[in-house]
Structures are given as C-alpha cells and as structure tokens.
C-alpha cells in the first residue's frame, strides 16, 4: 500500500514531502495541504492537522483525496506533532496510507458473498423448473401422451439453458475467466449485434428496441466480454419494461447507444422507459440479485457488467427515475485496454 508523508507548518503549507507523494500528487512543496490533497481553497472539515496543532496529540481520520491524474483515493491519515525542545508544536507530520485497493477488495468480497446467496436462490428456482419438467414428462409417459412429454421436455431444455447462462455469468464474476483482449474490436458493432439478437424478442413483448451507433474507433477490447456486458444491460432493460405496471405508457422502448466522447472515450448506453429502480433497491443495484422476477436476466447481470467495465479500465453508472425509466452508461477508454 502506498504511504505518503508530508510535513506542514501552522499555515498548512507543505514543507517536506516524500518521493511517493511527489509521484502521485506532484511537487506541491510550499502549497497548502488542502489544496495539494483535495484541490480545496479552505482547510478541510475535521482536519487532523489542525487538531494536532491545538492539543499536541496524534489524530487520525479517513479522507478521500484526488491524485494528480484525477483519480480519487481513500486514505487513512495520521497527524503527528513535531515539537521543539520546549515541547511547542512547530509543525505536523502527516502520514497517509492509500487504502483504495483494500476498500475495493472489501467491496468485491461483499459482492461475492451476496452473489453466492443470490445464486443459491436462483438455482433453487431452476431446480424447481427442472423437477417440474421431469414431473410433466413422467405424466406424459404414464398417460402415453406425446404432447405432454414434448411440453415437459421443453421445460427441461429451457431450464438447462438458463443454468448454462447462470454458470457463464458466474464464471465472468469469478477469477476463472481471464479477459481476452484483441485488437480492432469495434464496440459499435458489438452493440449492433446484440440489438439484432434481441430485436424480435423485444418486439414480441411490445417493446421497441432501437440502436443509435455513431462511428467509434476500433480498439483493444475483449469482444466476448463486451457482448456479455451489452446483453446483460439489454436483458435488464427489457425486464424493466415488461414489469412496468404503469398503465399510462403507450409504448415501451429500449435504446442502445454507442458513441465517442470528445475525450475519445467509448460510451455504451442502454436506456429504457420502464419501471425504474425503486429508491429502496438503489443501493443493491450493483451488489445483488436485483432481478425481482426477471426472466431475461440471470440476476448476476450487473456484477458482470461491472466486472467487464473494470477489466477494460472503464466504469459503470446509471440514472434512474422510478416509474419513468433507467439509463445505464458504460465508459471505456477509447483505444480499449492498453497493453
């Protein structure tokens, strides 16, 4: 874990800094620490340095700071008094440990725990479908009714199909699958393929599936993973429309977009005008089986989306308006993953 050390005087100006600090924050000696760490004009609320100057004791706090390349980082900050021979605090040494990675791993671990619980629930439902299918097949055999046998067999096949999708998603969420980046993958083409794949199914549910793709330069992406990412977002969007109880919406629509930003990033958006994410479910969106009863999604979908985005050095965000719809946005570095 990176550790930063700086020494500040009573006016919060940085007098000294270690090499690691210079690497990640630049040469900020002479600047106010609140400016160097957070870009603030004023002293930070609850500043441990201030408290150490007041009482001469060691203080600590947890802070979110911004590094020179614009990334935010979580830090555990300790402020230690530096005294002269009379015990007067002349300056304060700040030792900050960057715990961003630890926090990410903690989150990941919590997510995995939830995914395991959710998967168990999902598998229970699938087993019920399989068991039901077997019951129907057996009934067909007993009554020598071929139509019933066929119906039961269809149930078995459908549920086995879903099992394989759940397993595929689980593999994506685990370490089992290493990303396979390839050159010249066009995210726009991936979006168009998924659009083609889902269009007829969506239409059968009375949902219009639109694709708006602008020219996006091909780059180094994991094609299969991107396909999985878009598929999961579209499956969720279709479910959000199917389970929309709103009687006043005349038509449901899911729009897939792929475009480049001015900064050259590749953006994939999936927007629906479905049920929206209820406020009480919002915190669970990336963490859980947020399919209340989704039949398209496997329930692990957003975990997959998040993992794929992170593997590409990108991010996922969403805006949702309960009752009005949701828009998920994935931002990927334009040229894809650097080597």
């Amino acid at each position: 874990m990176p550790v930063y050390m700086t020494v500040q005087d009573r006016s919060y100006r940085i007098l000294e800094a270690n090499e690691r600090f210079r690497q990640d924050f630049g040469d900020r000696v002479g600047e106010h620490c609140h400016r160097a760490y957070k870009g603030r004009e004023n002293i930070c609320p609850g500043c441990p340095v201030e408290r150490t100057f007041v009482d001469g004791q060691v203080h600590s706090s947890e802070e979110t700071v911004v590094t020179r390349d614009g990334r935010s980082a979580s830090m555990i900050v300790h402020s230690v008094p530096v005294t002269d021979e009379k015990g007067y605090v002349t300056s304060v040494m700040v030792v900050s440990t960057n715990i961003t990675e630890v926090k990410r791993m903690q989150r990941q671990l919590a997510l995995m725990g939830l995914a395991v619980a959710g998967t168990a629930h999902r598998i229970k439902n699938l087993l019920m479908g399989l068991e039901g299918g077997i019951f129907v097949v057996n009934t067909g055999f007993e009554t020598r009714d071929e139509a019933t046998i066929a119906e039961g067999w269809e149930m078995v096949e459908r549920n086995v199909g879903t099992v394989s999708r759940v397993v595929k998603d689980l593999l994506y969420c685990s370490k089992e699958r290493e990303p396979r980046f390839a050159e010249d993958v066009n995210p726009g083409a991936v979006v168009r393929e998924v659009h083609e794949l889902f269009r007829a199914r969506a239409q059968a549910e009375g949902i219009e599936l639109r694709a708006e793709t602008n020219t996006v330069s091909p780059g180094r992406f994991d094609r299969e993973a991107l396909q999985n990412l878009v598929t999961n977002l579209v499956a969720n969007a279709i479910d959000a429309c199917r389970f929309d109880p709103s009687p006043d919406k005349h038509e449901h629509c899911v729009t897939l977009r792929c475009f480049s930003t001015d900064a050259g990033e590749a953006v994939i958006e999936v927007e629906d005008n479905g049920v929206g994410i209820p406020d009480d479910a919002e915190h669970k969106v990336f963490e859980n089986f947020f399919s209340t009863k989704g039949t398209e999604g496997t329930g692990l979908g957003l975990l997959v989306v998040q993992k794929v985005a992170e593997e590409h050095g990108g991010s996922v965000s969403y805006v949702s308006n309960p009752g009005r719809g949701t828009c998920f946005r994935v931002v990927l570095p334009g040229a894809g993953r650097s080597q």
């Binding site: 039901g132 299918g133 119906e151 269809e154 149930m155 199917r242 929309d244 009687p247």
Partner: protein
Amino acid sequence: MAARILVIDDERDMQVYLRTLFCRAGYEVEVAGDGAEGLLRVDSFHPDLITLDILMPRGSGVAAYRALREAAATRAIPVVVLTGLSDQATLLRDLAGLPPPELIVEKPIDRPVFLRQIETLVGASR
C-alpha cells in the same frame, strides 16, 4: 362433474406444470397468460378456484386480484397466490387494503401438501 381450476400465470413453465398437475389430479383446467385474459376466462369458465401469479408484466396480477375481489360475482372464488420467497414484501405492499388470498404458496411447491390444500379449498367453495 370435475371441479374447475383457472391458472393465471405468465410463465410458460408454471402454466404447463400446474395444468399437468391439476389435470392428473382430476380437475378441469384452463390457463390464462395474463390478468386481463384471466378475468375474461372467469366469466366463461366459472372456476371453483383460481391460482394467480401476482407478479406479472404490467401489474396485471395485482389488477386481476383487485378486480376479482371487488366484483360481487367473483368475490367468493378462492384465490391461491403463488410466489417466490423474495416477492413476499412486494406482495403484501401491493395487496394492502384488499382481503387476503385464501392461500399463499411459496415456491418450490410441495406437491402432496399443495394438492391437499387445493382439495380443501375447492371442497369448501362448491
């Protein structure tokens, strides 16, 4: 005459499963794929019992339940609500203010127990 059960469910698996299960137990069964279709079938089929999936697209399960409970002609037909465990909270919120269903069955279904419960409810309603 065999007792009649109307299955209102949007999921194909449940439609096939419940129809097979009830037919095999000697009931006459009809299946409706959403709430609106279910209400039409109630008028023509005159079921002795209805199984209803409460969580169906466009809120049609809750709407059908409300309609069944509000109309004098259908109020007395026992309704069995089938639900996954995770739907309980939604279910109670959606049905607030209405008389509760005669039976709420959590999936997975325990077949022998379920059939006994159905038999009792049908017997009482006929």
